[in-house]
């Protein structure tokens, strides 16, 4: 396993350099995990892109770096401490200086100059990739064919210039620093894998699940979903509308949902706050709609480019009044894809909003995933109980009652266009026929009907996941991107002989109380790992009746940086030791 990192000014081609390395390594049969440090500005400001390359699945950030590519001194000053005994490839243009206390091998190479000699400073990314490939002891050929496949459309000159730039970087390292790198990757594991982000996975899920209308307002870190769908929708006849704000986004999705289309919006905290208004309407009028909240640091503008999981309670109980909404939490790319389509079936089945609670790190960072785990054409679309024009004809003299009381609380709906199915959907309290009413008895009946619908969710999906021994000495519990770090921590502790399991929630609301209680009944010690300051999952656990302070510890992180496995290990170790002491 090797960790490679590039650093420089934002807007200097850092992203494209990392993307090329990650994509080619993935093509060669390695698993990659690529993540960035960036700021809310277009150009300038320090930025880094790190790629972990391994022959097994990687889904967490770590502190250590094996190869650091520095496009400026700032990168060396800020990150050379991560490179303990490793290599620092630096552009000789800025006369790099290694701080005295740092133990690393500095490899100065005229990256900018080489790029210019091939026609443009822009190609510094290719020179850096070539030099990096040499340091990683990877062959150059897969990189050259990648350039061919990606730049082929731009003409043979462009392809050749980029390939030459790459080879120049590659050869300079081989010729001048031939033996400097002892780094070798394990043997690759051939497979048909793609490199995608969590946002990509949700967008892919949505399109496979029949979503054809996306109304949104750009916001970091959710915008990619909108941009991907804009690219793909023309292929399937859908449309993205860039709205004037999130109030409009939500309302437009509700209009589309009422008319029978599958519509979604994607946002982050600040936008989600505005959507609370519309969520209330969708709950009250029983209109299916899907909302993605890609969480970032809050409150207010907070830290737009930083990780956090602090909108959870807002998703579950935000807004006024008692309402029936479903909140799903994906923690892997596969689950992001699954929730991306499943959310629509659930929304249609329960006729209520479904929120996908993801987070910045899961949404933005790229990972390898098996193509087979993204099987769009196999996705089943179930539009829930709908009465067609024909069904309505069969009713005869019987009047269609949109909000009829049923065993499950879900009443069959009609879609505009169906003869005889006209009804009023309103945010005002209403009777079974849709007409408004303030009658106390009716109010209670309708409130209970709406809330009752949610009970159907736990039969539709597994609310809690568990990986590792059932009778583990310690269970790590979390959601979202944290789960990837938990898994790596668990594997490291297991390698030391500890019996550790991990568990994560798949449905956050309604909380899978029974399943959760059963899963945690036997747990000896639990470490709840949350990326927020107020332990919002902890509050949900307490509400679910799981609050034994002797067994359950919590580690919280709210500095905007995603959890490193080492931090979870550090928090877990004392708990394992305590347990060992107690049992001895």
């Amino acid at each position: 396993m090797i960790a490679w990192k590039i650093g420089g000014e934002q807007g200097e081609g850092i992203d494209s350099t990392g993307d090329v390395l990650a994509t080619v390594a993935n093509r060669m049969g390695y698993f990659v995990y690529g993540y960035k440090h960036f700021s809310s500005r277009i150009k300038g400001g320090h930025t880094t892109y790190k790629v972990r390359i391994a022959n097994r699945r990687v889904e967490a950030a770590i502190e250590k770096t094996d190869i650091l590519v520095a496009l400026n001194q700032d990168t060396i000053d800020k990150h050379s401490h991560e490179v303990n005994g490793g290599l620092i490839l630096a552009d000789s243009a800025f006369k790099p200086v290694l701080p005295e206390h740092i133990r690393a091998t500095l490899i100065p190479l005229p990256l900018t100059e080489i790029a210019k000699s091939h026609g443009s400073v822009v190609m510094r990314n290719m020179v850096s990739v070539g030099a990096s490939a040499a340091l990683l002891n990877l062959p150059a050929e897969p990189f050259l064919s990648y350039i061919e496949s990606k730049f082929g459309r731009k003409g043979p000159e462009i392809v050749k210039a980029n390939q030459d730039a790459l080879m120049d970087g590659f050869n300079r390292v081989k010729d001048e620093y031939g033996q400097v790198s002892q780094l070798t990757l394990e043997n690759p594991v051939p497979g048909d894998r793609l490199v995608i982000t969590g946002n990509d996975a949700i967008a892919l899920g949505a399109i496979a699940g029949g979503c054809r209308i996306m109304c949104g307002y750009p916001i970091t870190p959710a915008t990619d979903i909108m941009e991907s769908l804009i690219k793909w929708f023309p292929l399937v006849g859908g449309t993205v509308v860039q709205m004037e704000d999130e109030l409009g986004s939500m309302s437009a999705c509700i209009g589309a949902g009422y008319a029978g289309a599958r519509s979604m919006t994607a946002t982050s905290g600040p936008g989600f706050s505005l959507m609370q208004e519309g969520l209330g309407l969708a709950m009250m009028a029983e209109i299916p709609v899907v909302v993605v909240d890609t969480q970032r640091s809050g409150p207010s503008t907070g830290m737009p480019t930083k990780q956090e999981q602090s909108d959870l309670l807002s998703m579950i109980i935000g807004g006024h009044g008692d309402g029936a909404r479903v909140v799903l939490t994906p923690s892997t790319l596969e689950e992001s894809f699954e929730d991306g389509h499943e959310a629509f079936n659930i929304a249609d089945a329960l006729q209520t909003p479904v929120i996908i609670a993801t987070d910045l790190s899961l949404a933005l960072w790229s990972q390898s995933i098996d193509r087979a785990d993204l099987n769009g054409p196999a996705v089943q679309i179930d539009r829930g109980p709908i009465l067609s024009g024909e069904d309505l004809q069969k009713l005869g003299e019987e009047v269609f009652l949109r909000y009829q009381i049923t065993e499950t609380g879900v009443s069959p709906r009609t879609l505009p266009g169906s003869l005889g199915g006209q009804y009023l959907a309103t945010g005002v309290e209403h009777q079974v026929n849709g007409k408004v009413s303030e009658d106390p008895t009716n109010r209670v009946k309708m409130m209970e009907k709406r809330l009752q619908k949610l009970e159907g969710i736990h039969a539709m999906r597994q609310g809690v996941k568990w990986e590792g021994p059932e009778d583990a000495d310690l269970v790590l519990l979390g959601i979202g991107a944290t789960v990837g770090a938990m898994r790596e921590a668990k594997d490291a502790l297991a390698a030391e002989g500890h019996r550790v399991a991990i568990s994560w929630l798949r449905t956050l609301s309604p909380f899978p109380v029974e399943h959760f209680q059963n899963a945690f009944k036997k747990a000896k010690k639990v470490l709840l790992v949350e990326q927020n300051a107020t332990s919002q999952v902890g509050l949900l656990m307490r509400a679910a009746g799981v609050y034994d302070d002797n067994r359950i510890s919590t580690t919280l992180k709210y500095d905007g940086v995603q959890f490193f496995p080492s931090e979870i290990i550090d928090a877990a170790r004392p708990l394992l030791e305590t347990y060992a002491e107690v049992t001895q």
């Binding site: 699940g209 690219k231 109030l247 309302s251 289309a261 006209q422």
Partner: protein, 287 residues
């Protein structure tokens, strides 16, 4: 063919006797009959306020949304099922206060929806407060010494925001109002019909009589050219927007006809399963 009766419901009205909204409702129903609409393929979005109760009184598919959000919801419905005839209705508060942001953008987006604003220059349902269209000096519970704010001019705003169809009617002038709504429905794009709909309870200034004296009918002026943006703005400015009739209209291709890859067949009737060929084309982005 549907009749006037087909668009009526048995619901008893909540509006005050003499309210202008009765006239707006009647004209809408007449226009729907005139364009050959059917209740099952008509979808109406209403906002919050007295005007928002409209959905209770028209037999069609109706959605009564949150305050100010009629236009995004109407857009969503039209894009989901472009075979539907979509109308949006709301008051001056819904349109020009809380919904102003959506108003401006719906005009320039030009989805084929007809928007009817029931404008009475006052907040009625909350029992008499100033509205964005209230005149300066207008006394209400929230402006006891008279309104300091200057009124918005929604028609001039609409024309300059990129509207392709702008008209104003008066709830008492039924044949013209029904005709304007009909023209708005037939216009291939977003159409705005601002309707003077007096509040008999809370607006003792802008009364039926006051409007009858103040309004001029553009249809009686053969020299007026509703296809000129400059002329429309000049006339609206000169009359303080106290005109009735078609104010501005231009050639229009609605939004939904311009979306790349968007199909004639309504979205709701399409097969949503993605075929393997399309899917592989999408996944090629990640290889």
């Amino acid at each position: 063919m549907a009749t006037l009766q087909d668009f009526k419901t048995a619901e008893k009205s909540w509006w005050c006797p003499g309210c202008g909204d009765f006239g707006v409702l009647a004209a809408m129903q007449k226009a729907l009959v005139a364009v050959g609409a059917e209740p099952s393929t008509t979808a109406i979005v209403a906002g919050i306020g007295c005007s928002g109760k409209l959905g209770n009184y028209i037999n069609s598919y109706n959605i009564h949304v949150t305050h100010g959000r009629t236009l995004p919801a109407a857009m969503g419905m039209k894009l989901a099922n472009r075979d539907l005839l979509v109308l949006a209705a709301g008051g001056d508060g819904d349109a020009y206060a809380i919904g102003m942001g959506h108003f401006m953008h719906a005009l320039r987006r030009n989805v084929n929806v007809t928007y009817i604003v029931m404008d009475n220059h006052v907040y009625g349902l909350t029992k008499g407060q100033t509205s964005p269209t209230s005149e300066s000096g207008f006394k209400t519970k929230t402006t006891p010494k008279g309104s300091i704010d200057r009124p918005v001019h929604p028609l001039m705003l609409a024309v300059s925001a990129g509207a392709t169809f702008v008209a104003q009617g008066f709830s008492s002038w039924q044949p013209q109002l029904a005709r304007l709504i009909q023209q708005g429905i037939e216009h291939p794009g977003f159409s705005l019909i601002n309707v003077i709909s007096p509040c008999v309870t809370y607006n003792k200034v802008n009364t039926y009589d006051w409007y009858k004296k103040s309004l001029t009918n553009l249809e009686e002026d053969p020299s007026y050219n509703p296809h000129s943006r400059t002329e429309a703005l000049a006339r609206l400015d000169a009359t303080d927007e106290l005109v009735c009739g078609l104010i501005y209209k231009e050639e229009s291709v609605p939004y939904e006809d311009q979306v790349p890859g968007f199909r004639e067949e309504p979205l709701v009737h399409q097969n949503w399963n993605v075929d393997s060929e399309t899917w592989n084309q999408i996944l090629a982005n990640f290889d």
